[in-house]
């Protein structure tokens, strides 16, 4: 059973395949030319030595031969160097149909040692005049270098309104010994078939898999909460096999990784591992608790003592005054704002008092934290010297 995501994926693959199916934009109308039957005649396709096979649309016919071969050499006679087969195709032609393209494909094998030569002749006739087609197809295979291989001869022919097509194949060994040549099959393919059937070629390219994380990712690559990682796999050459692939979305709740894998029908695979860094906590602002009651002497140079801290993603930005404002007496506040790399922010406010000589009387000098005074006199002197300095 395919999971919903897999079904969706399979569906999209299927739709792509259908859309790209060569030439199949819509269901074909009634086929203009079909093959009713086939007859054979000749010493290359004697009774019982050839079979025919049709597709259901009867636009594709394959003839398979068991004795359509020529040979020269040990055990062979001169008569074995030529074979002929005349194939008659009985056609049904839709009224008004005057022209229809067809492919005639002859497949065979040749073992031709150096010095041997052979010919495969293919010609055809059809039409109301039943005259031999002037465009006679002649293909020659020469084994000057010697060779052993298959051959495919493809001819595009044009069918007219005639209800018959006659194709003649001839195999002739013209020179040499220890040579063998066969026609294994002849195919007739008329027009476009009402289906598409193709073997996929070798695919050595792995699919392309990508990971797509949900949620906002900071510029520094951090997330502030759970991340759902989805996977997307694409392969323009071969469909993906959902059963063998791991494309299920992964929920990442803590700093870690999510892995996906994709396998296509040819066995090529790709994997992707996406590292995810999660920082759920805000940054902290530390410091700002001043000694004693927090009195600071007017004009004293006191660092703010504040700092931004984030143990997970770290501090992206920190706005704090470097020094306390001691230019005026009275209650002061100091504020700080911090941003971490996941996008969280935090702010804090501290307070302190700024005092002067008027705060030194009696035990008032003890309130000061910065600087600390020995006694009232020390306190008053401090501010007097400050005034002198001004």
């Amino acid at each position: 059973m395919l999971r919903p995501q897999m079904k969706s994926r399979a569906l999209s693959i299927a739709l792509c395949a259908v859309m790209s199916a060569a030439g199949l934009r819509a269901e074909p109308e009634t086929l203009p030319v079909t093959v009713r039957g086939v007859t054979f005649q000749g010493n290359g396709c004697g009774p019982g030595s050839a079979v025919d096979s049709f597709d259901e649309s009867r636009t594709r016919v394959t003839l398979i031969f068991s004795a359509n071969l020529v040979a020269a050499g040990q055990g062979m006679s001169a008569g074995d160097t030529r074979r002929r087969c005349e194939i008659g195709f009985a056609l049904t032609v839709k009224p008004g149909q005057n022209e229809q393209k067809a492919l005639l494909v002859v497949r065979g094998h040749a073992t031709l040692p150096a010095g041997a030569a052979a010919e495969v002749l293919t010609d055809w006739s059809g039409g109301s005049s039943s005259a031999r087609n002037e465009e006679r197809a002649t293909l020659v295979s020469k084994g000057d270098e010697g060779g052993d291989d298959g051959f495919v001869i493809t001819r595009e022919i044009v069918l007219d309104a005639s209800p018959s097509l006659t194709v003649q194949t001839s195999l002739v060994l013209t020179r040499g010994t220890d040579a063998l040549m066969t026609i294994d099959s002849v195919d007739l393919a008329i027009g476009k078939a009402p289906y598409s059937a193709t073997f996929e070629g070798p695919d050595t390219t792995p699919p392309i898999i990508t990971a797509d994380p949900s949620g906002d990712r900071s510029a520094s690559g951090w997330y502030s909460g759970d991340v759902l990682v989805s996977f997307r796999c694409e392969d323009p050459e071969s469909p993906i096999v959902p059963e063998l692939s791991d494309l299920e979305p992964k929920l990442v709740t803590d700093t870690g990784s999510a892995k996906g894998e994709c396998v296509n029908v040819t066995g090529n695979s790709s994997a992707v591992t996406l590292g995810v860094r999660i920082d759920r906590a805000r940054p902290r602002i530390v410091g700002g608790h001043y000694p004693g009651a927090g009195w600071i002497a007017l004009g004293a140079h006191v660092p703010s003592g504040l700092a931004c801290v984030d143990e997970d993603s770290g501090i992206e930005s920190c706005l704090i005054p470097g020094w306390l404002d001691t230019s005026k007496t009275g209650l002061h506040t100091i504020s700080a704002v911090a941003w971490d790399r996941a996008g969280h922010d935090a702010s804090a406010t501290s307070w302190y008092y700024v005092g002067d000589a008027g705060n030194c009387s009696e035990d008032g000098w003890r309130q000061f934290a910065e600087p600390m005074f020995r006694d009232e006199y020390d306190c008053v002197s401090r501010f007097q010297s400050v005034l002198k300095g001004q």
Binding site: G75, M76, D187, L188, T198, V241
Partner: protein, 210 residues
Amino acid sequence: MRVMLPVVAAAMLMAPMSAYAQAPDPSQVYVQSITYGGTGCPNGSMAHSFANDRKSFTLIFDSFVASTGSGVPITESRKNCQLNVNLHLPQGWQFSIGTADYRGYVNLPAGARAEQKSVYYFAGESQVTRKGSFVGPVAKDYLRRDELPLSTVVWSECGMVVPVNINAQVSITGAGSNSAQITTDSIDGKVRHILGLQWRTCTAEPEPEE
């Protein structure tokens, strides 16, 4: 030679043997029948069997042998058997993998080479070739497997029967007058459904094959 086992009739015949015999799934690709011919499989020289679901078959050959040697005609040095495997393709798009296992025996003297080759094609389409080679001296059984991804699209609502051609061949070269042989004893074919999409339902009554 045509090997035809009508699907409906086959299912009826098999029913008494197994109440749970798996019939062909019309929504997937399966093998309806096989036609064959060639120098390596003359009429009556091949036996066959199909699985109940028609997704696999076994062909056994009596005379699929290429050989060389003193007094052996050159026509024996290469044999072929072309199979016309009639596939039932369901309506819609299907992606399947066809597998063919070739089992046989090869015995070559030094200097000789042999090849087991198969050409696959649909009439009117380009072909793909898979092959395995042997270099003498060697005398052993062999198994060679071809795997072919197959993509089909059929618009007809009840699918269509489309033949795929498999031209299996064995040949020997370089043996001179020395005795050598390579055989194909059996072919096991299988079609495996991978993905498919159908956008119509077949409403027609099934018709028995001719």
